[in-house]
Amino acid sequence: MRFMVIVKATPESEKEGALPDAQGLLEMGKFNEELIRAGIVLAMDGLHPSSKGARVKFSGNSRTVIDGPFTEAKELIAGFWLWQVKSLEEAIEWVKRCPNPHASDSEIEIRQVFEMEDFAPILSEEQIQHKVAKRAQLPNQTANQ
């Protein structure tokens, strides 16, 4: 399963030119190394403050562009990871091991990514057992594509 793990912003991280402290960077760096060594990271990136971004509002046929910065810092995204793990609980366990991404109180949100299996048929228990029995009788032949 894939999860997007979202680090929410804080008023401090939204300030222009704001940089995390050296100790925080060091600890987060160590955590990222641990994640990579565990083989579960697919992607990760940090985002500039919303002052460098924009929003587009959709209403019927109209499109309205609004420049950043945006208020409600804790609803904004400061960074994200994409992880490959087997369950939501595994993602939660890893997030619990994460150092606080900000100097003040903060939040990390975990969201599951839609994947093929969500749209494709799933084998029933009966089908699995049927395949187990059939497989036991067949020789091996590999085709590559």
Partner: protein, 436 residues
């Protein structure tokens, strides 16, 4: 308290959530715990048994006490207690392992965190565990099961379901594998010098076997099992961090990332295979392709002769970079297959090279190479040989010969969908305007 009692239902939900959390903790920590215990006990089978007992203890106690702050330390400490109990109870073992028991008791006095703060030790132990689980003295199937169990944190049942094999068969494989490792006194160490290349090759073989088990349909109604591909990819990525200076490891990871990138495009919604050139490339996972190309770059930075996995990855990368089949860099693929054929010569690679040559230089050039393989005994029952030959003959306008080769190929394949496709192509040879 009935089953429909709301309090009962809530308790069940809580128990299930905690159970999943413990499973997650196991997946994250078990390899390290087992690796550390193996270093202490010098017996990987015993280490795994002890770790399993610690897991049972966790399943029993954590619902009441909660998940500890440092679950790995808790599991390791619990397992060590069991080991000491075991040595105390078994008088014979105690005489043999007296020193070991004393060592363990001494370690009991130290902080449980001490072992786990030494990063290098953990990485080294994990690598030792990888090498022992993939030891060439074990049959390939056993290596795969043992690796998934010790390093992947999968249960026997999960492994059985992933390989579509009965659970007792997998359980037996693992038991026998552990016994072989103990009987042959296989050491818990990182191979050095000339031995390293061969041993690493064995590890890569296991990981790729697991990947292919999930990736390649071997019979007509087999479905892909992407979860197994993910397990293999995770193991590959873990190994890449343990052995960052080994280009073939990055090569294998690259190959798996790129092959996995095609997952969505490779089968129809009803589970039928789609050939590479018929796939909708908009469904290829660009994130995985990017990761595969990055892994290839990582391998290139290590100055070494390209090995077979890296070469196969580079071939896969050629396809991955082409937005449409017509944009494929066939001359480059020919060079790569030629290099591959030199280091790992095989008739199948020669056949693939012939296909690439036909795309780069025209069907006649390819046909010449294919005809040179006609008497290859290992290809006698390989349906792709007549299938490729038929396709080249078709392109050269030699329809009656193409037809008979398509029919021959259809008779050789076990895959029902593929057989239908080949018979359809045979039929098209007759109805083609050139023949009328």
């Amino acid at each position: 308290m009935s089953a429909t009692d709301p309090h009962h239902a809530t308790q069940q939900a809580t128990d299930q959530a905690l159970h999943r959390t413990i499973e997650a903790v196991w997946r994250i920590e078990s390899a390290r715990v087992i690796a550390g215990l193996t270093r202490l006990t010098r017996d990987v089978g015993l280490a795994e048994d002890l770790a399993q007992e610690a897991l049972l203890a966790a399943l029993e106690q954590w619902p009441r006490s909660g998940v500890p702050d440092n679950p790995a330390a808790w599991l390791t400490a619990t397992a060590k207690h069991r080991a000491i109990d075991l040595f105390r109870r078994n008088a014979v073992a105690r005489r043999k392992h007296e020193e070991l028991a004393r060592e363990l008791e001494a370690l009991e006095q130290t902080s449980p965190d001490l072992d786990s703060t030494l990063d290098n030790t953990i990485s080294d132990d994990l690598l030792r565990l990888v090498f022992i689980a993939c030891h060439p003295i074990l049959p390939a199937d056993s290596r795969a099961a043992l690796t998934l169990r010790l390093l992947g944190g999968l249960t026997t049942d999960e492994i059985a379901r992933a390989f579509l094999t009965p659970e007792p068969t997998i359980a037996q494989r693992i038991v026998r594998a552990k016994r072989t490792l103990a009987d042959k006194h296989i050491p818990f160490e990182i191979p050095r010098g000339p031995e390293l290349a061969a041993r690493l090759s064995s590890v890569l073989e296991v990981i790729y076997l697991i990947f292919n088990e999930g990736y390649s349909a071997t019979t007509g109604d087999d479905l892909m099992r992407p979860a197994l591909c993910e397990d293999a990819l995770r193991l590959g990525r873990i190994l890449a961090e343990l052995t960052p200076t080994e280009p073939e490891v990055h090569g294998l990871v690259a190959l798996m990332e790129i092959q996995a990138s095609r997952t969505r495009a490779r089968i129809t919604s009803t589970g039928e295979p789609v050939l590479l050139f018929d796939q909708n490339r908009a469904q290829w996972d660009q994130l995985l392709i990017h990761r595969g190309l990055t892994a290839i770059e990582r391998a290139h930075k290590i100055n070494a002769v390209r090995g077979p996995y890296l070469l196969q990855a580079e071939i896969a990368a050629c396809h991955a970079r082409a937005r449409t089949p017509s944009e494929t860099d066939w001359p480059r693929i020919v060079i790569l297959y030629t290099e591959l054929a030199q280091i790992t010569p095989s008739p199948v690679i020669e056949l693939n090279r012939a296909v690439a040559v036909s795309m780069a230089q025209g069907p006649q050039a390819g046909l010449t190479l294919v005809d040179a393989l006609a008497s290859e005994p290992s290809l006698a029952r390989y349906h792709l040989l007549p299938s490729v030959r038929a396709d080249l003959l078709y392109k050269l306008g030699r329809r009656p010969e193409a037809r008979s080769d398509f029919v021959r190929a259809a008779a050789l394949t076990l895959n029902t969908r593929e057989r239908d496709l080949l018979l359809a192509r045979a039929a098209s040879c007759e109805t083609d305007p050139i023949n009328s």
